[in-house]
């Protein structure tokens, strides 16, 4: 057995052992499945939602809200940072305003968004957007501030105009910073969608968790959490793949 296989099997055994303990405690009556859930019942519940397709529907709703907020936040955050990075005047004008808006805990605005944009998808998308926007904005801006002046000079001396400098030096140069912003933005967009659904919604995994918990359907809560964990893993895997491609020029390991 190779080391990788060994790691994999140990991992699976650990998970099975944990689930077995949980199930055992429920059967022996040490913990109350009514409050803590029971693995076999969770499986049954999940299976029933796979059969009627509802788990896919709600996962899709949450994913859609998160992704829409993510893309809007990413695009606007990036563009806003580039504009302010290129014009020191507007950066100075807007700096305190941005800090004030950023300083408001966004969760305090969530009920307002529900009021303005309704119980449907739009309010969650806007909420996720406000979370992602600032992350991407600040990261991109920091990337611009850290651009290597020497690189820009060398390319300018060759006769490059503003546009050429922008897409041959600045955009690739800030890409590691933007990617870092997008990475935390991914997590934030899901969080935004979930919290939006908790506060006021009628679909999605957040809504499912919130309403099931209200009815003490603990197994249903765990089903939704399970679907959420898979969703996070899948989006992270996709993102990591993209990141490795975009940043393949970076040295792999840095020894700290």
């Amino acid at each position: 057995m190779t080391l990788d296989q060994k790691i994999l099997w140990t991992r699976i055994s650990l998970i099975l052992f944990g689930l077995g303990m949980w199930e055992g405690f429920c059967v022996c009556g040490i913990i109350d499945p009514y409050f803590f859930g029971q693995p076999t019942s969770i499986c049954q519940d999940l299976w029933s939602m796979i059969i009627d397709g509802s788990i896919f529907f709600h996962t899709w709703i949450t994913l859609f809200e998160a992704m829409a907020g993510f893309f809007l936040g990413a695009v606007f955050g990036c563009v806003a940072a580039l504009i302010l990075g290129m014009s020191p005047f507007w950066a100075k004008v807007l700096d305190p305003l941005i800090m004030v808006v950023y300083g408001i805990p966004r969760i305090a605005l969530a009920p307002l968004f529900i009021l303005w944009f309704g119980l449907g998808l739009a309010s969650k998308i806007v909420f996720a957007f406000t979370l992602v926007f600032f992350l991407v904005f600040f990261n991109t801006f920091a990337g611009l501030k850290n651009m290597n002046q020497g690189m820009i000079n060398t390319i300018r001396v060759m006769g490059a105009g503003r546009r050429q400098i922008m897409h041959k030096v600045i955009l690739p140069g800030i890409s590691p910073w933007v990617m870092a912003g997008l990475k935390s933005g991914m997590g934030m967009s899901l969080l935004g969608a979930l919290v939006g659904e908790y506060i006021g919604g009628n679909a999605g995994l957040g809504w499912m968790i919130n309403s099931a918990a209200g009815l003490f359907e603990t197994n249903r809560v765990f089903s939704a959490i399970f679907a959420l964990a898979l969703l996070v893993m899948a989006t992270n895997a996709v993102f990591n793949k993209i990141e490795r491609r975009v940043l393949k020029w970076r040295p792999e390991n840095i020894n700290l």
Partner: protein
């Protein structure tokens, strides 16, 4: 070719005070000439190069390139800055291609030239590597041929071989000299190493301490091609000693 008249320049320090760096600097570089600029560290050599390039604007005085006033005109010179400015997201080949790309030279035109340059400095086989995978000497080679790739008339090189070991440095010096022999170019070469300056140049401009101008110009009449061992010949040593003494007396009476 490059004419500087009465250049003055002051840096504005972070606390707002103005620190004179260049004062009444005159300089005339002829076409196809290889000149070195030597001076104590911090005397304003890099600043001078940036003024010639149009990256920094002088406070007063005139810069003329081929008779035309330098007014942020770019694209006529290849510039190798003191620090590493290779684009880390581009492979060796694509780094070298950036100049022709910017000038919109067709690929069929620049490809043979770039291949020849890569071969010339011994980088064949490393075309698809990224800068983070190269040694210091290899990076300098890439940087050198990047400045040459779009075939500029003038090369401005700021301590290009500064941080290299002696062996690599000698190889690169010879590479540069033979490239210069093949394609006539005007080269302005900054160094703090007098032996290197004498080895490479037609003329050496000596700068004084800040605020500096050109204090002395030396004509180097050692016949070319110059191999590595000319530095052990008596005429070379005598010249070295003479420039060295001038250099020290100039820096000495300042501090």
């Amino acid at each position: 070719m490059i004419q500087l008249d009465n250049i003055c320049f002051s840096h504005i320090a972070n606390d707002g005070t103005s620190v004179p760096t260049l004062q009444n600097l005159d300089m005339h570089i002829r076409e196809n000439e290889f000149v070195s600029i030597v001076g104590p560290s911090g005397c304003g050599k890099t600043t001078l190069l940036e003024i010639i390039l149009g990256l920094t604007r002088q406070d007063s005085g005139n810069v003329r390139i081929n008779g035309a006033t330098q007014n942020q005109t770019f694209g006529w010179a290849g510039y190798m800055s003191q620090s590493d400015t290779l684009l880390p997201w581009r492979t060796v080949l694509r780094n070298v291609q950036i100049g022709p790309e910017i000038k919109k030279i067709p690929k069929t035109e620049y490809e043979p030239r770039i291949n020849k340059l890569i071969q010339k400095v011994g980088l064949t086989g490393n075309e698809t590597r990224f800068p983070s995978e190269l040694s210091g000497g290899m990076k300098k080679r890439v940087d050198l041929i990047r400045t040459l790739a779009f075939n500029p008339e003038v090369l401005l090189l700021d301590e290009p071989f500064g941080a290299l070991d002696a062996q690599t440095r000698e190889n690169l010096q010879q590479d540069l000299l033979s490239l210069w022999r093949e394609e006539k170019k005007t080269i302005v070469f900054i160094t703090h190493d007098l032996v290197e300056a004498i080895m490479m140049s037609d003329r050496i401009f000596l700068m004084g301490s800040k605020p500096a101008g050109i204090k002395k110009i030396f004509d180097i009449q050692i016949p070319r091609p110059r191999q590595y061992h000319v530095q052990f010949e008596e005429s070379f040593i005598r010249l070295h000693k003479h420039i060295r003494q001038t250099f020290e007396s100039l820096s000495g009476n300042q501090s």
